[in-house]
């Protein structure tokens, strides 16, 4: 290991500012508390939409979606309603490790699958499928397997049994910690990034356990954060005052009151129609359709020439967008407004890929989780999930040489690379 100053980034997927603050104050995360006392601690804006693929792509490239090209977990094939899943090959802006001198070790960043050669080590995160495409250099695969390294928590287990799920969350964390310890001394790096994603999985299924001290899984929930704090302490202990340590989340979380199905409202108001006697699926929409949504709340006009059953002429587009905007602005459930903001693509995105952006993007008020599911049987419902992402309550914690004055207020997730580049 050389004595050059190092940059270390610890990512915690989905952890909200208030939760870090709370665990720091209540002694669950004492090491993090020390960093807060000695560093800069701020509430941070996630990307829009606030899903991991978009947020992490923005974080690692320092760019907005119209520059890096990732707008969600799902896209459609060109001139078709068939879904595809963008991955690292679709990220069109260079990552900080592409641009930075020296070696980088990058562990479990979402949206980096399948890996490609880089200067250092890259182990991809969500959604990684095949271990042989998730690890660079590939000769690390057997070593990682010997640690029982798991690419991701198997969230399907939560749908079977919370105990099985919690076991998997714990095993995944332990494998991740072993990998980080092994790779810390593996090569002479300048930048080390370790991301924990079990936090997001816990928050989706067990936000209720966080809020309720009597919940059967409250202790397990808190314990997971205690373990992460131990790693934070271990890493902080290896660094000098000249090194930079950044800890952050990609988006925040809060209690989920209602899942709200955007396509249901569009269909109820005549903007979206399916052919008679067919399953509600995008492939089956009728040419009368004016607009549809992809998860979470990205609304696309059914434009003529762009889609097989497209019928919206560019001349009529603005009127339809206004109608849809009015519909969602006024939309209420139990007397509460569901939508915080309705954006046109040009309001929030700038860059060469803006044409691929949705025409309207919705951000919800607290408690409402917007979903792009097609074929929901009600406008809103409550399922297995007890927590939901937030756009404006991610956190950023910086300890080491940096200039807090230069940080935008509030910082955005895409501002992170500028701190150390």
């Amino acid at each position: 290991m050389t004595d050059k100053p190092k940059t270390v980034i610890i990512g915690t997927d989905g952890v909200p500012f208030e939760m870090i603050e709370h665990f720091a104050q209540t002694g669950v995360m004492p090491n993090t508390a020390r960093l807060i006392a000695d560093g800069t601690f701020a509430k941070m804006q996630s990307s829009i939409p606030e899903v991991s693929s978009v947020a992490w792509s923005s974080m690692i490239t320092g760019a907005n979606p119209a520059e890096h090209g990732i707008f969600g977990f799902i896209e459609l094939h060109p001139n078709s309603y068939r879904m595809r899943f963008p991955n690292y090959n679709d990220v069109k802006a260079p990552t900080f490790w592409d641009k930075r001198d020296g070696k980088s070790v990058i562990i479990n960043v979402p949206s980096t699958y399948p890996v490609r050669p880089m200067n250092g080590v890259l182990i991809s995160g969500f959604v990684s499928i095949d271990i042989n495409k998730s690890v660079y250099p590939p000769d690390l695969v057997p070593t990682l397997q010997s640690f029982d390294y798991r690419l991701d928590v198997d969230a399907r287990k939560a749908h079977q049994s919370m105990d099985l799920f919690l076991e998997d969350v714990e095993a995944t964390l332990q494998g991740r910690i072993k990998a980080y310890r092994y790779l810390w001394d593996y090569c002479d790096w300048n930048t080390f990034m370790l991301v924990f994603t079990g936090t997001d999985r816990l928050l989706h299924f067990l936000w209720s356990a966080y809020e309720d001290k009597n919940h059967a899984h409250h202790a397990a929930f808190v314990d997971h954060f205690r373990k992460i704090d131990e790693v934070v302490g271990e890493i902080a202990g290896k660094l000098t005052d000249d090194d930079l340590l950044i800890m952050h989340s990609d988006h925040g979380f809060e209690r989920l009151d209602h899942e709200v199905f955007v396509n249901y409202l569009l269909a109820e108001n005549g903007f979206l129609q399916f052919k008679q006697d067919t399953d509600p699926a995008l492939e089956n929409i009728c040419p009368d359709t004016k607009a549809f949504a992809l998860d979470p709340a990205r609304i696309y006009l059914n434009l003529k020439g762009k889609y097989p059953a497209g019928n919206v002429n560019p001349a009529g587009a603005e009127t339809i967008l206004d109608e849809i905007e009015d519909l969602f602005t006024e939309f209420q459930i139990d007397g509460r407004k569901v939508i915080r903001d309705v954006y046109r693509k040009a309001d929030i995105y700038t860059g060469p890929y803006i044409e691929s952006a949705p025409d309207l993007i919705l951000v919800a008020n607290a408690g409402f989780n917007l979903k792009g599911k097609i074929g929901a049987d009600a406008l809103y419902s409550k399922g297995i999930f007890t927590g939901k992402h937030t756009q404006d309550t991610a956190f950023l914690l910086i300890k080491g040489p940096h200039n807090p004055e230069k940080l935008p207020n509030p910082p955005k997730v895409s501002d992170i690379p500028a701190i150390f580049m």
């Binding site: 977990f73 799902i74 050669p117 959604v127 590939p138 057997p142 998860d295």
Partner: protein, 270 residues
Amino acid sequence: MSSALSHLDKLENQSIFIIREAYSQFRDVAMLWSIGKDSTCLLWLVRKAFFDRIPFPCLHIDTGYKFKEIYEFRDKYAKEWNLDLLVARNEEAIAAGMGPDKSKFNCCNELKTVALKQAIAKHGFKALYLGIRRDEHGIRAKERVFSPRDEDFEWDYKNQPPELWDQYKTKAAEEEHIRVHPLLGWREIDIWEYVKRENIPTTSLYFAKNGIRFRSIGCETCCGPVASEADTIDKIVEELKTTNISERSGQAQDKESDYMMQKLRSLGYM
């Protein structure tokens, strides 16, 4: 078993026909030998086609990052088979320190593509034999046996009127070079059955050690092993029969999409 043999005989005959025809048309040719199983099979067929006296060079693109087994294998058989071996290296890029740890995208380009271009320019090759197979990768699906790059029709190699060869020849003058793919119709399993039948030597990297083996080999830094217990040719053939999902095939892509959908669904993203 007899039908398997005749299947291999048919493939062998077709390939030898293509190899001889292309040579008689172009003369200034070379074959690319990566030392992997496919191009070593091709080399075997080329030796058969010319009765062990190959009238053109074998070109090895050396990035300097190959497995040591590859270099040992190359030198041993170049000597044993009396090959006119040309080794092409982009010395300039190697001297400048180009490597996979230097710049991920540039490495392959500088060390492979540029080295190949340099060799073609230096020796004036009109055509190159390559051991690629159609089942190797989705992007190979549209490849032609005889590929002046942008031609867009299926080449029926036996019923080809001779004028067409001339057409290709004039094309060859404008284009960089013509690629000839005598193994295009072979599948991975055909290669292994042929390797076994002919007793063709292959490097030890293909055979499982400590639970992993390589299905394809190239630069040490860019090649991933797969989990496998297959430590003999028979076991490899058996493995290919039972898995039948190519690591790089379009089928595997569909499987990945299904699995991704499940993962996204389990977190409520769909």
